[in-house]
Amino acid sequence: MSILPPNQRLLVIVPAFNEEASLARVIAELRAALPGVRVVVINDGSHDATPQVAHDAGAQVINLPYNLGIGAAMQTGFILADEEGFDFAVQVDGDGQHDAREIGRLLQPLIAGTADVVVGSRYLEGPGYVSSTMRRTGIRILAACITVLTGQRCTDATSGFRAANRRAIKLCAMYYPPDYPEPESLVVFRKLGIRAREVPVSMRARTGGKSSITAARSGYYMLKVLLAIGVMMLRRAPRLREV
């Protein structure tokens, strides 16, 4: 990709759980937007044709033997990025919400050295896909909590459209919150001095499949994330030796 400095390598990590409907298009868009960049799909124990679809679309596939949850799936990608010495890693969800052409915007602050993690926020500026009122309210509440806790402006706490530099990759390979990692990881980053910032992106409605967070689970999600964040603040720093 042209915006990458010479000799710098980017790994695109796509966590996928039962995403056969949308994955082929996601990977095709990634390969079109970033020719020559390695795309790895972490198949988190899908019951459908996700691994075949990903392989046929030209991605490397990592099959987890059973469903571990998105956090553990992402961490697998970060471990790969760390062990193979990638300079940057980008997370793109397998459901087609994220626009591959905007990855450049995520990478810019990393390349410029002004941030270690960049989060694509759908709420920083206007247009694009707008989710349901319930979900938006939930995200707002989480974002407000995280803004207060970290002292950094956060508008889209649950965004899974993110980029990380080498330093953040190393940290995420060692420790990454297991279940619903997005909001929690922002607090971890802050505690460990990883500089996170948001850039505006537009998101689309998913092109196929189902969100893992159904209406019934949203309440549980909110509670669990708030508990995790609360407990996180009580720790000195995450125990990094657990891996």
Partner: protein, 122 residues
């Protein structure tokens, strides 16, 4: 006061538990480290059942007017501690399990890439 029959009943239950735990350990169906808590529980109940003054003093100590209730309270507390301990064990197991599963996925992928190398591999 505990009746003689109730005392005998509780005593024999605790004895049975003690023997069961020892037998499970002997057959390697229960690891020694997890048996220790169970053995401690069984012994404590045995002790309480064998010694009525102990139950009475225990009840008086925490302000329970009906001494046999003290036994139940003690048993309930022990069960709570045991369950909490088991939850912690499960947490540790699932963490180790996650790490193993991640490694399996990474190794499996690397093996397939080695067996069927693709042309484009930056």
């Amino acid at each position: 006061m505990l009746g003689d029959r109730l005392t005998a009943f509780i005593f024999s239950m605790a004895l049975a538990l003690l023997l069961l735990v020892l037998e499970l350990v002997r057959r390697r169906l229960l690891a020694e480290r997890y048996s220790l808590l169970w053995l401690a529980m069984a012994l404590a109940v045995l002790l309480l059942a064998a010694s009525r003054p102990l139950v009475d003093r225990l009840a008086a100590l925490v302000g329970i007017s009906y001494p046999p209730s003290a036994l139940f309270v003690a048993g309930f507390g022990a069960v709570l501690v045991l369950m909490l301990y088991l939850s912690a064990v499960i947490t540790k197991l699932s963490r180790q399990n996650r790490i193993a599963a991640q490694r399996i996925g990474l190794l499996d992928s690397r093996l397939r890439e080695l067996e069927h190398p693709r042309t484009q591999q930056p």
